[in-house]
């Protein structure tokens, strides 16, 4: 009897202490409600409402301080149906109303034609369209290039397919935006993506891209600047936002993207983040403060003689790849490219092009021209 009494006593005191602990731990921002989450970026214990406010305010601040938009801009949101772009669509509509940006928003999706992946995610985008009541444009590789990714993979296999996909998607986004008469594109690249890209470009020695990849606006010299409102937003916070807001998003990796090298970098970044949460912002800060030797000149921009798209050669990358696809040479050419890539140890040079902003892979371009020559 005594024993049990004792034990109950102790449990009581334990419970008491925990409650006092809980009481003492209030949201570090509003000091009213109980915190439900630890902010990945800062480690603060905050409540849900405060998280929403901080999250939204930060993005608002990024948008305002970088002058991303002007009143009356027609902005196409690159929407894949994944978490980043879903949250982007949500945030953009929300901020547009809240702070009265005066923007016309559009959802723009690219259908690469990947069965079992893109068709499902496009359903999500369609649901998003209904939810946010903004116009949606779906543009497919099939109608633009007369090839689907499924066909391309059938033709060239699983090596280098991401090159095609990335090059095509870049251009498709631009073309879609033109169709929507949009003058700006926003994409859902987050801080993690950018930090990862910085590391990747360092590891590959890809200086032109290293220069570009931290710019919040890219392609500003062209008619269609792209911006990344999530540049300083942690991926974890995006997921958190989507989770708490119960947003409808699609979370499956592309079935054609086996990307070992980037996978390494991603794991590495996760480890680093575990040691010091600010590391993602720190990497971006580093990259923003990189100064490049003058001799690293950026390639001169001109227009593709076939389709008029901005590029740095006579023929743009997409036209070039397409030509080879159509003439059945793609595999041969790609294998040469890959071989060269291996020589210089840039194996997975060309994957996830959407992460890297401007023109497609520069080195690859050089390679392809030298091959044609």
């Amino acid at each position: 009897m005594e024993n049990s009494n004792n034990s109950t006593n102790t449990t009581n005191t334990a419970a008491a202490t925990t409650t006092t602990k809980k009481k003492s731990k209030l949201c570090e921002i509003c000091n009213v409600s109980r915190p439900v989450l630890k902010r990945p970026k800062t480690g603060e214990m905050i409540c849900k409402e405060c998280f929403y406010t901080v999250f939204e305010d930060e993005i608002h601040h990024t948008i305002v301080s970088n002058n991303l938009f002007k009143r009356g801009d027609r902005v196409a949101i690159g929407a894949s149906g994944g978490k980043d772009s879903t949250v982007l669509a949500e945030i953009m509509t929300l901020l547009n109303k809240k702070y009265d940006y005066g923007l016309d928003l559009f959802l723009l999706s690219i259908d690469e034609g990947i069965t079992g992946y893109r068709d499902d995610s496009l359903e999500t985008v369609k649901r998003n369209q209904e939810q946010y009541q903004i116009p949606l444009k779906i543009l497919s590789y099939k109608e633009l290039y007369n090839w689907t990714m499924d066909d391309i993979v059938k033709e060239i296999g699983l090596k280098g397919n991401c090159t095609f996909c990335g090059v095509f998607r870049r251009q498709a986004l631009d073309r879609g935006a033109v169709m929507l008469k949009a003058n700006k594109i926003v994409t859902g690249h987050n801080a993690d993506d950018i930090a990862e890209t910085v590391l990747m470009n360092l590891l590959r020695g890809d200086i032109p891209r290293l220069q570009r990849c931290v710019n919040i606006i890219t392609g500003s010299e062209g008619a269609l600047p792209r911006s990344k409102p999530f540049k300083y937003t942690y991926q974890k916070e995006i997921v958190m936002y989507a989770y708490f807001k119960k947003l409808d998003y699609f979370s499956t990796e592309c079935i054609y993207a086996p990307n070992a090298y980037r996978g390494h970098a991603r794991d590495f970044l996760k480890d680093l983040e575990a040691v010091r949460p600010s590391i993602i912002i720190d990497i971006i800060h580093s990259a923003e403060n990189f100064h490049f030797r003058e001799e690293n000149k950026m390639p001169v921009q001109r227009n593709c003689i076939q389709c008029g798209y901005i590029c740095s050669n006579d023929i743009c990358m997409a036209c070039d790849l397409l030509k080879n696809l159509n003439s059945g040479l793609a595999k041969v050419k790609l294998s040469i490219n890959l071989k060269r890539g291996k020589d210089s140890n840039n194996n997975n040079n060309n994957n996830n092009n959407n992460n890297n902003s401007n023109n497609n892979n520069n080195t690859l371009k050089l390679e392809s021209t030298s091959v044609t020559n």
Partner: protein
């Protein structure tokens, strides 16, 4: 002084002379086993013949030629050689070389870098070599010795002084006595240098107070840091600062470090991760400019991979490196530095170009000097223009505050007034009087004894480090001095700024 070892390589005394793996990681070397490459034999034979015919000065050219026609099948042309064909010991950048050729090649490459150190060829160049006791710095000293010993034109006039910084109080679990013993033996007995300075890390706190007290203070500082990353970084900054001090004392303008290319690549990734993007190009180049003073650091071992260094050292048969090193003995996930190291070693195992690619990347970057007066108080790298602007803004704010509240000793003043510091108060007072004069007096300035460090005088990543201190840290006096100096400088600049013709970045870029 760099802790160049692989984290888990644990070179032991017996390892060096045997055919034990150079590191426990997979390193693609051909060790001294039975497999011999015939092609190498040809190459060696060819090489030897060439050397006999030509003068030493043209060796490099010959080596290049040899590299180019490694595919041809010249049969054993060693008819006029006195040297026997060497056994291949290393796959040196796709060349299988024997020890003799390898040694020559290494020396060649090393000389190319050490030439950059020499400014005037007539007088002996005074160099301070920082020895950690590890393989890389030992090899560095051996190579330098060879440079001075060469005959005729090849001989370099170098006045070499050695220093070892004893960090035993920070890393008590390591066997420092062995290291020190080794360093002493190596420099004086084996290589015949006259003397080596052993400087305890405690000297960073000055030399006036008793040693034990300083040890305690130093340990306290490091214990106050909550993360391993910051501990390692602070140690590095202290070490570099001490090296500068020693160099001043010994009247050397040049400090030579034995940092290998692996380590520099790791440093590149780690520093980038820590937000040091502005200064990392400087810190990873062969010549490290110190914006705050006239001492330069050199890293002539930048071209050598760790495995190349290990092979070389093993074949020298000099002295076994003591079992040591380092803080890195802990779990790889405990700090950013070790994580980066681990990551890069993995990548290097996958593809042995990783390190080279990284170093080539950083070659394309520069650290512009914005204003040589504005340097981080802790790591003494130059501040970015943004950081300088922030600092100047703080100074301005403080001034207006001062003017507004003359009576109150504003706690948020340019340096928050905390309790006085025993270690450096005397100097503080003197300089603070200067401060007073500059500010045109006012009672509040006397109250602002800057015994703590103003955060605005730190660079981005040192701010993070400083935030890592659990309590208000009692950091090394040099940091406080620097911080105060910097505040004074920018106050002064503020006073005269109306008369400066172009106080903005464009002008200062030229400085």
């Amino acid at each position: 002084m760099s802790s160049e070892e692989l984290p888990s390589c644990g070179i032991s005394d017996n390892d060096i002379n045997n055919t034990v793996p150079v590191s426990t990681r997979k390193v693609q070397i051909t060790p001294n086993d039975n497999t011999q490459c015939v092609k190498c034999l040809y190459n060696v034979a060819n090489n030897v013949k060439d050397k006999k015919i030509t003068k030493k000065e043209k060796k490099e050219q010959k080596l290049k030629e040899e590299n180019n026609d490694n595919s041809d099948n010249n049969n054993n042309n060693n008819n006029n050689t006195t040297k026997p064909i060497g056994k291949p010991i290393i796959n040196f950048r796709s060349e299988q070389l024997c020890w003799e050729c390898y040694r020559e090649l290494i020396l060649k490459k090393f000389k190319l870098n050490i030439v950059k150190v020499r400014e005037c060829k007539r007088d002996a160049e005074k160099l301070l070599v920082a020895l950690s006791g590890g393989t890389c710095s030992s090899m560095l000293l051996e190579l330098l010795k060879q440079c001075t010993e060469g005959s005729g034109k090849a001989k370099m006039f170098l006045d070499i002084k050695c220093v070892h910084i004893d960090e035993s109080s920070i890393t008590p679990y390591l066997n420092h006595n062995d290291t020190i013993e080794f360093v002493k033996q190596f420099t004086t007995d084996k290589l015949g240098f006259s003397k080596i300075e052993i400087i305890p890390l405690e000297d960073i706190l000055g030399t006036s107070t008793p040693f034990e007290e300083r040890t305690k203070q130093l340990q306290q500082q490091f214990n106050d840091l909550s993360s391993e990353t910051s501990k390692e970084d602070l140690l590095l900054y202290y070490r570099n600062q001490l090296l500068i001090q020693v160099a001043h004392k010994l009247d050397c303008k040049k400090v030579i470090l034995g940092t290998s290319s692996n380590r520099l690549a790791v440093q590149l990734v780690a520093s980038t991760s820590k937000g040091r993007g502005f200064s990392v190009p400087n810190e990873t180049s062969v010549i490290i400019e110190q914006p705050s003073n006239d001492i330069k650091f050199y890293q002539p071992m930048r071209d050598f991979l760790l495995k190349e260094i290990f092979i070389y050292y093993r074949h020298l048969n000099i002295l076994p490196v003591p079992v040591m090193f380092s803080i890195l003995k802990l779990k790889p996930k405990h700090s950013i530095n070790t994580l980066c190291e681990d990551f890069l070693h993995c990548l290097q195992d996958i593809s042995n170009q990783t390190v080279h690619t990284l170093l080539r990347s950083v070659d394309k970057l520069i650290s512009p000097s914005i204003d040589s007066n504005y340097n981080c108080s802790i790591c003494s790298s130059s501040l970015t223009s943004e950081e300088i602007k922030n600092l100047e803004k703080v100074i301005l704010d403080n001034k207006s505050k001062e003017n507004n509240s003359n009576n109150n000793n504003d706690k948020n003043g340019c340096c928050s007034t905390k309790t006085e510091d025993s270690s450096c108060c005397s100097t503080n007072k003197v300089q603070d009087n200067n401060n007073n004069n500059n500010n045109g007096g006012g009672c509040c300035t006397t109250a602002q004894l800057p015994t703590t460090v103003n955060k605005e005088t730190l660079c981005y990543s040192c701010k993070i480090l400083y935030r890592d201190f659990k309590s208000t840290p009692n950091v090394a006096p040099y940091i406080k001095d620097n911080s105060k100096q910097l505040l004074t400088t920018s106050q002064l600049k503020n006073e005269i700024k109306d008369f400066l013709l172009n106080s903005d970045d464009e002008d200062e870029n030229d400085n």
